[in-house]
């Protein structure tokens, strides 16, 4: 237990084994169409 720092989310970006399948949504198709947003998408493997 840390006193000064709280780890809110342990990022998993470096976990790349078996990733990159490309089954997730294309970045521009959801509700933007004039920007690019990838950080709000879900990994299809985890749905």
């Amino acid at each position: 237990m840390m006193k000064h720092i709280k780890l809110v989310k342990k990022g998993r970006l470096t976990e790349v084994k078996n990733k990159g399948c490309g089954e997730c949504q294309t970045s521009c198709q959801s509700a933007c169409k004039t920007s690019c947003t990838v950080g709000n998408q879900k990994c299809k493997q985890e749905n």
């Binding site: 790349v16 490309g22 970045s27």
Partner: protein, 449 residues
Amino acid sequence: MIHQYRLNGINIVLDVDTSSVLTVDDLSYEILELYEKNSHQVIINTLSSKYKKDEISEALSEIESLIKEGLLFSKHDYNPDQYGNTDLIKAICLHVAHDCNLKCNYCFAAQGDFEGEKCLMPLEVGKKAIDFLVGQSRHRKNLEIDFFGGEPLMNLDVVKELVLYGNQVAQENGKNFKYTMTTNGVLLDEEARQYLNDTMDNVVLSLDGRKEINDHMRKTINDQGSFDVIINNIKKMADLRGDKDHYIRGTFTHFNLDFSKDVRFLAQQGFKSISVEPVVAEPIHDYAIREEDLEALKSEYDQLALDYLNQENEGLDYNFFHFNVELDQGPCAYKRLSGCGAGRDYVAVTPQGDIYPCHQFVGNESFKMGHVKTGISNHQIKEHFDAGNLLKKDDCQNCWAKYFCGGGCHANAYNFNGTIMEPHKISCELEKRRVENAIMIEIIKDDQI
């Protein structure tokens, strides 16, 4: 690399390469500001007039332990080529109508016709486009078709036929099509609403917000405001949609830098899924967002975030697209590195069957990639977009937000800087503030669980 910032009274630290999020006390925040360029002793000496030495040492020790765990100042080399699939396309934007029943001032489609002939996509062209998509998708199962325009409801009969055809083709080929329509709502009568609700996986409804704001930019063919024409149709569509995916999609411009009021207005109308984002336009236009608007817009996103967090107290219940961030189950590094799918795994098809990297390149002949009947013929364009990943963009290398935007929109980059490899600066600045707020919102939500 880390990014540290203070927002809504919280000291937030993002470890960029792992995407870990931490909150820290004031002491640790100040230590982290000094950490990379100073020894422990210098840090202790610098801060000892403000904090007790043993407290500083304790915080330093926590930081050291997180570094050892790889959660602070982490460094990870990703291989961008692992995500490259040069011949694979998984999504198409079908321009079923190069015509529109509105004439919005800021329309990048030149009021629907993309500076070409006004026309509707014939059924045969649409079918060829679907065949092209299936052929190019190889082993990918989940494919996307967005019915776009102009105004796609002007060609609804063809859309209906294409959905039937798509379903048949999907079944025959073991594919799963996800259909989306983006509409301005003018022709959204009861029958159209029911049809879209039954068949579309997502419906994007264009409405800018307050009546006077919407009507200033979104005009009818007779130069009248469109708000009164569309509002009831869009409300009924959203009501029918319920929890199924849909978005009220607005655009803000230089004329409504106070766009949080438009988001609030839309939420007050009962809309639950809202996406309002900046217009992308060259500075010659009076409505364009310019650099001097940036500070006001950043403050506006901060205000919107506070409103968003307070929505329950105001009796509101809505989701704002750009404050969604997936910190637990977000996309993998390869997806984030490849970013914008234009010309790579996503293309746009015109009513004539011509293929372009995305809807925003349509009409620019030098970006024509091929035709649905003959496939991709200009492989140089495809290769150019394939190679346009995050790690090859100089401006992105030292940007903390790179794994959230994936390097930005290639069309914006090209339109402003003449190359897809140099992101559009104003868009970057606004994206960064949206992400900062989105993370802050997640932290507060996490605390409430």
